[in-house]
């Protein structure tokens, strides 16, 4: 079983991946795969609808659907393929406020960067978890107290702290 975690630790996955809308049963929270003719299934409230995106998607194509989605899962085919970092930022920029999930063999050392780019949670293969269990992910999150870049650190970037800019007094 893949492992799902967020900043609080390993969490249960309440979403079910299905291949097409015909598989949706009552009360299921589903993640559908992206297709060119994707349309949100009628009658499904946004908090029950998720969408899995390839990392080379043209964001303009998915933008019209963002308000109908409770979760977006972005494919990371390899930890070294960093397109998903920018895709996450772009989806947040477009106003997506639902749950954002990175899905694929990303490593613990990338956890903080993923969260900084707008992701809430990470779904990794079970085999990776045997090598990199939860304590490594927690340690990785604490490794660097704060980065320089404003806009990636929830208001706590070095540049903001230095200039006390845009912060609560």
């Amino acid at each position: 079983m893949p492992v799902l975690r967020d900043a609080s630790g390993v969490i249960a996955d309440s979403w079910i991946r299905v291949d097409h809308a015909g598989e949706i049963a009552d009360g299921m929270k589903v993640i559908l795969p992206w297709s060119e003719d994707f349309a949100p299934p009628a009658g499904l409230p946004s908090f029950m609808l998720g969408l899995h995106l390839p990392n080379d998607i043209e964001t303009a194509k998915v933008a019209p659907h963002l308000a109908r989605l409770g979760l977006i899962s972005v494919d990371f085919p390899s930890f070294a393929d960093g397109r998903g970092f920018s895709l996450g930022r772009r989806l947040r920029n477009l106003g997506f406020r639902g749950r954002l999930r990175a899905c694929g063999p990303v490593i613990a050392d990338q956890f903080a960067y993923l969260l900084a780019c707008g992701y809430d949670e990470v779904e990794t293969p079970e085999s990776l978890d045997r090598r990199q269990p939860q304590p490594q992910w927690e340690r990785a999150l604490r490794a660097i107290s704060r980065g320089y870049q404003p806009g990636y650190a929830g208001g706590r970037s070095v540049m903001q702290l230095r200039h006390q800019y845009g912060m609560e007094p």
């Binding site: 080379d56 930890f79 070294a80 393929d81 960093g82 397109r83 970092f85 920018s86 895709l87 930022r89 772009r90 947040r92 920029n93 477009l94 490593i107 050392d109 990338q110 903080a112 960067y113 993923l114 900084a116 780019c117 090598r131 990199q132 490594q136 340690r139 490794a143 660097i144 107290s145 704060r146 980065g147 320089y148 870049q149 404003p150 806009g151 990636y152 208001g155 970037s157 070095v158 540049m159 903001q160 702290l161 230095r162 200039h163 800019y165 845009g166």
Partner: protein, 552 residues
């Protein structure tokens, strides 16, 4: 120069601890070699032919005497007592053990240094003009922008797993001494008609196997937009750049395939859509950093000290050195001096620990404690009082650091090549050494005049051969080294890529080939003409005829 505040110091310390943990996790199997590789590369650690290599970042090539001493200590304690200054204004240690690297990084952190992003598919060490703060033709100190970008690019959450490496260079002078036209992004500090500061933004330049001259993306970008605009450029590159072929993954290929207009439209639309609500005004951080680069308090100095005139008259070696290696300083009574790391027959850019200490001492006594590393693999002492020149020369002379060849034919750039590098297809350093010995006579070098030779040991072009007046590229032809020659390359304002003369030459023949090129130039040049001017006037034909006449 810039000094860390508590935030900078903490980040570098934490990065060392993080790397120590990553090394331990590699050794206990938590990280596979494939996973560890980009993590170590982002900390400057390569696996070379014979050993690991640690590349230490020297941001925009500026360092102080204390840092230089620490580099000497590190080279003795954990390496083999020498280091190699690179074309990225960095220093490499060629023989560290993996287990020692975290301790080496700790020693660097003690003197406000690190190896962060000196390698890997991320934004690399930002480079700049080695005569920053010295040259009379600069608008402002380019290092303020370079330091701002160093911080902005350090451990950038979004741009640390790019398709390929990404290099930024900054110039703030009329004369481009930072080769900004052969970088992924080149920034030229400018002012608009109203006098507001900003940048001309160039994109898509680079060397490697597909060399390209950068194109203009924005004629004028207001300073306030700098970081946001770069974020937009990098995001478009990260999402759109090719990932299917490592050799087509640089931004230059994306810009080339889309065309600069289309690429520019994509950047502008990304830029317009950015959420800048948390942005700190660039002016605020720029002003904070600028205070670190305020001109030093220059002790009073005579502009034409009598003692100097006497020494110049009495010692022609000294006079040659001052004339050749001196660079005009905008402060009266001062001169910037290039310390050549290209002694005849030496390995370009190599220095021993003892020489590093001498350089540190020279900086302390004669250059207000400051040094610069140039992309030509030399050292600059930026602030030397003219009255101190003779004493400085004596100090350097005692340690083989007085070669008077800045910009001459023996001031050769060479990558490490097959002597060290796992990617190399041929030797570079021995070629440089052989050419250097062939042209050892100082009078002959002066007669030839300024002429840059740049040597790479493979098509990745770390030795910048595409922009050498004479470029030499070492290839492997069925197990035999073969050297391709290009002519007419220029990294500066009139940037141009060298043109191939024709079929390559064997290793032994290269010095003779260079000599034929030089003789052809000397026979054809008009009074006062440099090599590039002559080449641009007469073209390739006479050189080709000289090199291949017997072959046809």
């Amino acid at each position: 120069m810039y000094h860390y505040d508590d935030f900078d110091a903490q980040l570098v310390r934490e990065r060392v601890a993080q790397f120590r943990d990553q090394v331990a996790r590699r050794l206990d199997g938590s990280l596979t070699e494939e996973e560890f590789k980009p993590l170590r590369l982002m900390n400057g650690l390569y696996l070379q032919l014979h050993a690991y290599m640690l590349r230490v970042a020297i941001p925009y090539g500026t360092l102080n005497s204390r840092q230089m001493r620490q580099l000497a200590m590190i080279s003795e304690r954990w390496d083999r007592g020498y280091g190699h200054f690179t074309t990225r204004q960095n220093i490499q240690f060629n023989w560290p053990r993996l287990a020692d690297v975290p301790d080496m990084l700790d020693a660097l952190a003690e003197v406000e240094m690190h190896a962060i992003q000196s390698s890997g598919n991320c934004i690399r060490n930002v480079t700049s003009d080695p005569f920053a703060g010295v040259a009379a033709d600069e608008i402002e100190d380019p290092r303020i922008t370079a330091e701002l970008l160093r911080q902005w690019s350090t451990l950038h959450p979004e741009f640390t797993f790019l398709g390929r490496k990404f290099k930024i260079a900054v110039s703030a002078a009329r004369q481009d001494r930072a080769a900004i036209r052969v970088h992924d992004i080149g920034l030229e500090v400018r002012r608009d008609a109203a006098g507001n500061p900003g940048y001309r933004v160039l994109v898509g330049g680079g060397q490697g196997r597909t060399p390209m001259i950068a194109k203009e993306l924005r004629a004028f970008l207001p300073r306030a937009d700098l970081l946001a605009y770069l974020e937009a450029v990098l995001r478009v590159y990260n999402l759109m750049g090719r990932r299917d072929n490592k050799f087509k993954a640089r931004i230059k290929i994306l810009v080339h395939e889309l065309g600069i207009e289309r690429f520019g439209e994509m950047v502008e639309s990304e830029f317009e859509a950015l959420d800048r609500s948390e942005e700190v005004p660039v002016a605020a951080e720029f002003a904070r950093i600028a205070r670190h680069f305020a001109p030093p308090d220059y002790p009073p100095a005579e502009d034409e000290p009598e003692a100097l005139d006497r020494a110049l008259a009495a010692h022609s070696d000294f006079a040659d050195w001052v004339a050749r290696n001196g660079f005009a300083h905008r402060e009266p009574g001062y001169l910037a001096v290039t310390v050549s790391l290209k002694p005849i027959g030496g390995a370009p850019g190599d220095v021993t620990a003892e020489q590093m200490r001498v350089l540190a001492e020279a900086a302390e006594r004669f250059s207000l404690g400051e040094l610069r590393v140039t992309h030509e693999q030399n050292i600059v002492l930026p602030h030397v009082r003219k009255s101190d020149l003779f004493a400085l020369w004596h100090l350097l002379r005692g340690h083989g650091l007085d070669t008077a060849n800045r910009g001459l034919i023996t001031d050769i750039i060479a990558c490490p090549g097959l002597d060290y590098c796992a990617l190399a297809t041929a030797r570079s350093i021995p070629v440089a050494q052989a050419i250097s010995e062939r042209f050892a006579d100082p009078a002959r070098q002066r007669e030839i005049g300024s002429l840059s030779i740049k040597i790479s040991g493979c098509i990745n072009a770390c030795g910048h051969h595409h922009v050498g007046a004479i470029g030499i590229l070492g290839l492997d032809r069925a197990g035999v080294e073969s050297y391709q020659i290009t002519l007419g390359g220029d990294p500066a304002n009139e940037a141009s890529l060298g043109e191939r003369t024709g079929p390559g030459f064997p290793f032994e023949q290269v010095p003779e080939v260079v000599e034929q090129i030089v003789d052809t130039y000397l026979a054809l040049r008009m009074p006062g003409e440099g090599f590039l001017q002559t080449y641009r006037r007469v073209g390739m034909t006479p050189f080709r005829e000289a090199l291949y006449a017997g072959a046809a």
